[in-house]
Amino acid sequence: MTAKSIVLVEDDPALRLLIARALRASGYDVQTACSGAEMWVLLDHTPADLIVLDIMLPGTTGIDLFRRLRREGDTPIIFISARGNEEDRVLGLELGADDYLAKPFSTRELVARIGAVLRRGAGDADKSGGRTELGFDGWSLSIARRELRSPEGTLVDLTGAEFDLLTTFANQPQRVIGRQRLIELSRTRLSDSSDRSIDVLVSRLRRKLANGGDDAPIITVRGLGYMFTAEVSRG
């Protein structure tokens, strides 16, 4: 298997060198650029498997580069930012970034994220899933922004585990999903992955999805698991 090629766009020379060195040590083929213009030249010659982009570049801002990259192809992008705020993270993911890293980050963290994005890009059909909007009963679920909105447009917060669970349900409507399957899917999120914690999550979700007199569209199928009963539309 040939080494995956990564294009690194970073304007700080020392950091560029350090990141490139760390990635090479992890077995990647790394090419570096200090600006957007340089990146385009690089990409013209050799297509990359993944781009690591610093969002605060001089000249064209990272965001503009981003939009152009997304228009011209679907190379996975991880962007790194010197602003560690939540708004930036959401903006990046909404624009279609595959992952987001705030400075400072460790070599291990960076390599792990790159590995995860490359794996996802390799086989998963759900690659564009990061940009989907799901709708049911007037509710809308934005996967990119990790946001749930009620039919009246009210933002309704969910914990990470609740969000993942709802996404799982909404991706498989009108189908019974076993408790065991749900536990496996949410293992990464929950410290205590038991039947009980899934039941707790479901009851929390039901409470948040109950709107006025309407019950949440999640029913319990005795002995089997749960089923999401609402019609789901994709936008």
Binding site: A82, P104, P151, E152, G153, V156, T159, G212
Partner: protein
Amino acid sequence: MPRVNWLRRWGLPARVLAIVAAVMLLDFAVNAFLFERASTFALQEEEAGVLAERLTVADRLLNEGLPANRPALARQLSSDKLTLSWSPHGARPLAAINLAGLKAQLIGYEPALASARLQLHLSPIHFNQGLGGTLVLNDNSVLAFHSRSRETWPLTAGHVIRLLLPTAMLMPLAWMAVFVSLRPLRKLVRASRHVGTPHARPIAVDGPGEVQLLIHAFNAMQKRIDDLLDANTQTMLAIGHDMRTPLARLQLRLDALSIEGDDRQALHDDIAEMRDLFASLQSFVDADAPEAPKERIDLAAMAQTLIDGAQDRGESAQYSGPDRLVVMARAFPLRRALSNLIENALHYGGAVHVRLEDGARWVDIAIEDDGPGIPPESLAKVLQPFVRLDTARARNTAGMGLGLAIADRILRAEGGTLTLENRKAGGLRALARLPAHNLARPGNTSLQTSAFREKSPR
């Protein structure tokens, strides 16, 4: 509009002078009207005839009588309706109001009265209402009379009004005029309350010259303060993110070094702490300048989610309140503020109880812990940035003493407040208060479908 510009150039003294002049002019006009009415005033035919006749008789008799007998004679001639008195060199009261019409009427009946130099005046107000007057006898002594005529009361009333009018009517008028003139000044006072906040705006230059100068000076001052705050923000932002690149380099260099064991972990922890400091510094700066528009947020879901998250981490956290409560706010900052308050309670109190209450005007979120609380004298101080109480509240997780200051700034930017108090049962209560959102009331949401409204329980 040239007319308005011309008016605007008027200074404060000119305006006050103009107001005084206007008041005086009005006073003059009212007086003129009253005098005019008095001069055409006439008694009823019969009453005037009787009065004229009796005055003529009295004039003739007193002229003929000896000066020594005159006071007694005057008393004898007096009746219920007409009082007469004589004095050798009596002073004649000046006629305050020209009763020319009445005088002409009386002389018309008895022309002899003209030669007696008849003079009429209205009785002073505290007397019985009526008409007074004087006649001059041949030897220049004076005969005064007072007639208790019922008909003079409209004149007397007019007299009273004339005396009261300036105070009763013209003073409020003058006050109104001054009030309007000083309106730009009050605008200035209101604006000064917003100096240094994101609501600060330059004031429109308006009003008298002096006030315009003041507004110019004020706007210049406000700009200087804004610039200072801006520089302050830029400095903090620079620290907040420009330092992240060198820190990232440090982290990667450390990763490449072959240091083992505790030293590596300690260095990692140091870098992590610095990262947290920069993050909280940036939150503090961001809190003051919210960019996103406000949107509908389910505050109950937000609070429950934070509490559930804490429970999932194994913390002792409780929520009581409604399942749904909509407010208009910005989600990111508000979540950060609540999260800071909850983490603060967990860190110092070990357990947290969040109570959400909906009111007519305010939504109250009380975040309570069972910790040691805060000494009363420090309650206000801990909302200041970079303040950390070193004894009881040893080391903040955010590390810089910014957690509460960030929450305070965010809530104020959302139109709310944050107050801290020690609970009677022990522990601290942080009360976050947000403006209630009336759209959340049932029936007001135009977005709801009618089917939904029918099913709605309320």
